[in-house]
Symmetry: C2
Subunit: 395 residues, 2 copies
């Protein structure tokens, strides 16, 4: 049979990262490779109560078809929470998505034709690369330092690619680096976007999980022209299994997101939207997030202590003020994919950095996740990883 798939599948191959995550599943391996929240913090009892409340009070509506835009009480609660993050949004400008991943997919759908340019951080979020790639775009990577994307390099690229479709950025505790865009650069990026007339897609899944330093206003806060599309999610502050995220953007964007979301999955799971709304109605979610912050802070501290103690000295690493990840850069001659297989033999795992660079290269970095592992396992796993690194770097 000669099946003619679409051009977007012409380079189809099983995902390398998928294979990597697969081999890290063995019970003897301590894996810092994944990106999962700490499951022991999920508010299971509160969710049970919320299910009961929803099914008793509005059971038929919770199980029926619903609207593409999402459940209004939940969208109102999102607007309330965003106020505390320096954003004032009318409820109409916020829609619910099936996780933040759907917001990324719809963003590709809305903006991208084959050959279009997306400007992004270097490195950037792997699943965003994959979502945008589906629409056959090109990526222009902007180098970062510990204050985030370089504004000098960004401006160069804006000049070089005047038809670029949007700037994609994760300003808070970026995946994979854990870096945060400085206040000054937040003001600069919106000024540049205004000057070069380009939308910004501000992906902010981690912002609410800041456990150190001072809260910075989102880029959206400085947006006077309705050009920032702000994406966020309940995955890091409540539950990823329920697949609920949201988009906050001006009507000229939102009406197109709604239009394309309708043909993509009609609407997001309404029962889960109602559960989340009932949970936030009944429980102080900020108190719950405080617990998450406390645990993640302790784990990050422990991981950083271990790096200081167990790793060779000629490496660079980030010390994130929130989120789930930190980033380690090794001398340029080290290929972290080879290192990955050595580490695996020592029963410890991480994600090699190369797949986070959409145009390839950069083989000498890796990502560590600290949110999903007990203190005990962090201590033991980092010792194992330190041994491998010493062996490789001293060789």
């Amino acid at each position: 049979m000669a099946i003619q798939f679409s051009n977007r599948l012409k380079d189809f191959a099983p995902s390398e990262i998928g294979e990597i995550l697969e081999v890290t599943q063995k019970p003897e391996i301590i894996s810092f490779a994944g990106g999962l929240p700490a499951p022991e913090l999920f508010p299971i009892e509160d969710v049970k109560q919320a299910c009961k409340t929803v099914l008793e009070n509005q059971g038929a509506a919770a199980l029926q078809y619903s609207t593409t835009e999402g459940y209004i009480p939940l969208r109102k609660q999102i607007c309330e929470r965003m106020k505390a993050l320096d954003m004032e949004s009318p409820v109409e400008d916020v829609i619910i998505t099936t996780g933040s991943q759907q917001a990324l997919d719809l963003t590709g759908k809305i903006f991208l034709d084959e050959g279009d340019v997306v400007i992004c951080e270097s490195p950037t979020y792997l699943a965003a690369i994959n979502a945008f790639k589906t629409y056959q775009c090109k990526f222009v990577e902007i180098p970062m330092d510990d204050e985030g994307m370089s504004m000098v390099e960004l401006e160069k690229s804006l000049k070089e690619y005047p038809h670029a479709k949007f700037i994609y950025t994760i300003p808070d505790f970026q995946n994979p680096t854990g870096r945060t865009l400085s206040l000054e650069r937040r003001k600069k990026i919106i000024a540049l976007a205004n000057q070069y007339d380009i939308p910004i897609v501000e992906d902010n899944p981690y912002g609410a999980v800041r456990f150190a330093g001072e809260m910075l206003p989102p880029i959206k806060h400085f947006d006077t022209e309705g050009r920032v599309i702000y994406l966020s999610t309940f995955s890091k502050i409540f539950s990823p299994g329920l697949r609920l995220g949201w988009i906050y953007a001006a009507p000229h964007y939102i009406q197109r997101y709604i239009f394309l979301k309708e043909s993509t999955d009609l609407h997001s799971n309404i029962f889960s939207q109602m559960i989340t709304a009932a949970y936030m109605e009944a429980v102080d979610i900020e108190g719950h997030i405080d617990k998450i912050k406390e645990v993640y802070k302790e784990r990050r501290n422990l991981m950083v202590d271990c790096i200081e103690r167990e790793f060779p000295k000629d490496i660079h690493y980030t010390t994130p003020e929130g989120g789930l990840f930190l980033w380690v850069e090794l001398p340029p001659q080290i290929d972290t994919k080879e290192l990955f297989y050595k580490a695996l033999k020592n029963n410890v795992a991480f994600v090699p950095g190369a797949p986070f660079y959409p145009n390839g290269g950069h083989k000498n970095a890796f990502r560590l996740n600290y949110s999903n592992m007990s203190n005990e396992k962090i201590l033991e796993g980092m010792k194992r990883l330190g041994d491998v690194l010493k062996e490789v770097l001293d060789a």
Copy 2:
């Protein structure tokens, strides 16, 4: 601001059908326009029990990230149910989707580039048209009669469009017409697909809700070459609000669906997958479906009686043996969109038929939904509609 959206949005306009459904929401209107299951039949108490079971036994896993393919126990239960429908599937060939709508979107993503041809029934499911259109395809419509798609016309089109990407068909109680593809034509369509080497996308959301006539094997049952992609859903037999559907297809398709689903929404809501599995474990879902069939049969019978009694004689209508819809064809001079606004004044609504024809035309038909309305309202609504029709047709 000069926003450059993708070419797929160049004809963007608020959906006509959305506006139509919007105006039918007023409480004084009896609406046969929607396509909702009967909410009074949702097994709310059983779902409550299933939530409790899931959260008590596997709460952390229910709220955590999960796999793109879907929850294995649910996929096994789907295979069990499909056996009773004459399909033998290994669990690996079945994946969970975020409603059947996502399966349609992913089908477009997998197969379609700009200008590609999709062969479909005339008329066909509106939301499938919209999903495929997003990938900028063309539609070749195959006329139907009361035994479904014409095989003579299909073969003509297969000859005329040898590069068509797939045949899209809803063989059981089609939306919008309620028609069912005859057994003979099921054998013929797979023979033609084999001969002309083209995949078939068999969309079967309603097949399990057959309340009259004899069960026919799905087209997939006759598929010896792995070319039929079978789509179905829990929306009509359990709950649409949970957004759970599935795809059953050969590995060369399934691995690509998984690949693109991952970048589309990572995975479907795992809590809802576990609830559905726990429900099917605890309760006899076939008994539940029997109740749905009984109610829908009664409503269909009532609606058909009303048509016979209240409608003018020079119309054609279908008498579906299952599903949610029937289809009314008026003399060619009648424009059912104009009729819609007249009906609205008489506080009754339907969906005009034109949007179900991807290439336009065919203004003289409309769709009626009987699943979502009490007997009392069917009687009163059909009387109101009959009055409008008599006025228009006698004029």
